[in-house]
């Protein structure tokens, strides 16, 4: 919410700026990315190298990004939607095709990731992968051990079995507020196709959450990083890099909180956040330059080292810190990767069913 209001204010400021920017002949690029998702020195380096000023803004949910894009005139030149949202936005005509001749660094991409992304963006015409990761379990090692003893943490059972969740209730359970992902994970857990859009499958997937609803303290998708780092919650469904950032923050604060991330053995959701250029972008050339700069192996490696997410750039791997590259929570092993699933976008009617069930789970109404 804070991010939301701030970004509205920033968007207004950005719009005002772009008007004055034209007359001053200053080259700018307006970037709208997820919160806590870049090493900010990259932006300064980019300005130093190209003279293009970066106006950088953040959001914390795909919903907010999509609403702005669909309303049109967002004022942004580069945005970072997640794959299923990207697919629908392409269909709605939100983006322009990339001029690949202006992004020579595309040659550094990881063909396997590009191939997976092509499911959402056929031919990879509109988007370049920025980061990818998984949605798994983040936990406070000591508190969870105290509550559950030696229960293995490599399975969704640790959270989805109501008796386990009940034991974790007192130390704080957060559930990621991203209905498309949580339902896919729920359906996969109960043995349904995670990509199913059938109401009865969605209901079965949702039941996983309603069964543990009374044990959940919060439903959020941004402040849980700090909550986990501070020890306000002890277990959460969360995005891999977010959990690892919480781990880093706790280590920096030296508050004795020890955090780990696990990819459950039943498999989980694999997502892709991608760079794309809105059709109504004003600074198209600068946007291409920005994307090309990010795709330099050493630059995107710097971003990965900072945010602790895997990127879609194969050439960057030799610049990535060993503890990031060799961490199976960031770059999963081949065996684990096989269990990761992706989902296709929801249609409007299916989306309504999904969010209605999600509201019902969250509010009990």
């Amino acid at each position: 919410m804070k991010a939301h209001l701030l970004s509205i204010a920033a968007a207004l400021a950005a719009t005002a700026f772009s008007v004055s920017g034209v007359s001053a002949q200053e080259r700018t690029v307006h970037v709208y990315n997820w919160s806590d998702y870049i090493d900010e020195s990259i932006l300064q380096d980019f300005t130093k190298e190209t003279g293009i000023k970066v106006v950088y803004d953040v959001f914390d949910s795909n919903d907010i990004l999509e609403t702005k894009l669909l309303a049109g005139g967002s004022g942004y030149d580069v945005v970072v939607p997640t794959a299923p949202f990207l697919a629908r936005q392409i269909q709605a005509g939100v983006f322009q095709k990339l001029d690949k001749s202006k992004i020579p660094n595309l040659s550094n991409l990881w063909p396997e990731i590009s191939a997976r992304l092509a499911k959402y963006d056929p031919g990879n015409e509109y988007a370049v992968n920025y980061m990818w990761g998984t949605t798994g379990i983040g936990y406070n090692v000591d508190k969870v051990k105290k509550a559950l003893g030696d229960t293995p943490l490599d399975s969704w059972d640790v959270l989805f079995k109501p008796e386990n969740a009940a034991k974790l209730k007192s130390c704080g359970v957060n559930i990621l507020d991203a209905s498309d992902e949580t339902f896919a994970i729920g359906m996969n857990y109960v043995g349904k196709d995670p990509d199913s859009k059938e109401t009865k499958d969605l209901e079965a997937g949702g039941k996983v959450y309603s069964d543990i609803r009374s044990s959940a303290k919060t439903f959020n998708s941004s402040s849980y990083i700090d909550d986990l780092a501070n020890g306000d919650i002890c277990i959460t469904i969360g995005w891999s890099g977010d959990i690892l950032q919480a781990k880093t923050r706790a280590e920096e604060a030296k508050n004795g909180v020890n955090i780990e991330f696990s990819i459950p053995k039943e498999g989980t959701y694999m997502w892709f956040d991608n760079l794309a250029i809105p059709a109504d972008a004003k600074n198209v050339a600068e946007a291409h330059e920005f994307i090309n700069y990010l795709m330099k192996p050493e630059v995107i490696a710097k971003a990965s080292n900072y945010v602790q997410y895997a990127n879609g750039n194969l050439a960057s791997q030799k610049f990535i810190d060993k503890e990031v590259l060799e961490n199976p929570a960031v770059y999963p092993t081949e065996e684990v990767t096989k269990k990761l699933f992706t989902i296709s976008p929801y249609g409007p009617k299916e989306q309504r069913v999904l969010n209605r069930l999600w509201t019902q789970i969250k509010t009990g109404k």
């Binding site: 804070k2 609403t67 669909l70 629908r88 709605a92 439903f219 989306q351 509010t363």
Partner: protein, 303 residues
Amino acid sequence: MADTTADNPHANPARWLVVAVPYLWLLLFFVAPFLIIFKISLSDTAIAMPPYTPVFGGWAAISDFVSELDIENYLFLTEDPLYFQAYMSSLRIAAISTFLLLLIGYPMALAMARAPNSIRPILLMLVILPFWTSFLIRVYAWIGILKPDGLLTLALQTIGLMGPDEQVEIFRTDTAVFIGIVYSYLPFMVLPLYAALEKMDNTLLEAANDLGCPPWKAFWKITFPLSLPGVIAGSMICFIPITGEFVIPDLLGGADTLMIGKTLWTEFFSNRDWPLASAVAVVLLLMLVVPIAIFQNQQKKVA
């Protein structure tokens, strides 16, 4: 009236202009946006920019355009009990908050109105002072106070009212929402009350006292009835925006705090269903405007 021509706006163009300004304001900033929202509420969702259809295509296409509009979104609102529950829950929270605001705001306003003339401006300043800080930051500050390991717990533990292992469990409950709302809206309640109480003729109370009326009776017989316009104005200024409040319940309330503002947010952002979100907004507006209009009509009759 000595000057009858001044009562006839047509006779005096300058006067007419002055009268027109508020109407123009209403037309531009209320009627026009309302019509846009109302039109979207009759449309259907689409995967497009903007995400609904039909989009207004110009005056020539107007008959085709109108034929594509329908009221299915309003029918949907009656089919799912969620919306009714959200409206009712919002009205309940707004009603309780307004009552609490009156309970706290009235004594404050009364004390201010009865305070010596020399310190009144300072008291007034103190009520207005919080506006100098961003509303959002003030609500965030409450998170720091109310959260389990926050300032309130610390204070209670320090003075020994709470053991070292105990924590206050207010954050992310309806109680926290009430605290946040009452805190944020208090100046809006106090100021109209103060304005009404300050104008009051104190000789009335003196007369009551001379005639043997005890102070509490004088309060209910004289002060309170005379302050009623302030009570009504303050209650309306608070009740109406609280009903549609989104930020405070989102920051301080739990996931189970159901309010229409949040329902609207979900429709608009998560479901990308602008038409249904618009229908929710139109119904909310009618729910608030119709009772107020009836009330104002009756006030006129009384006057």
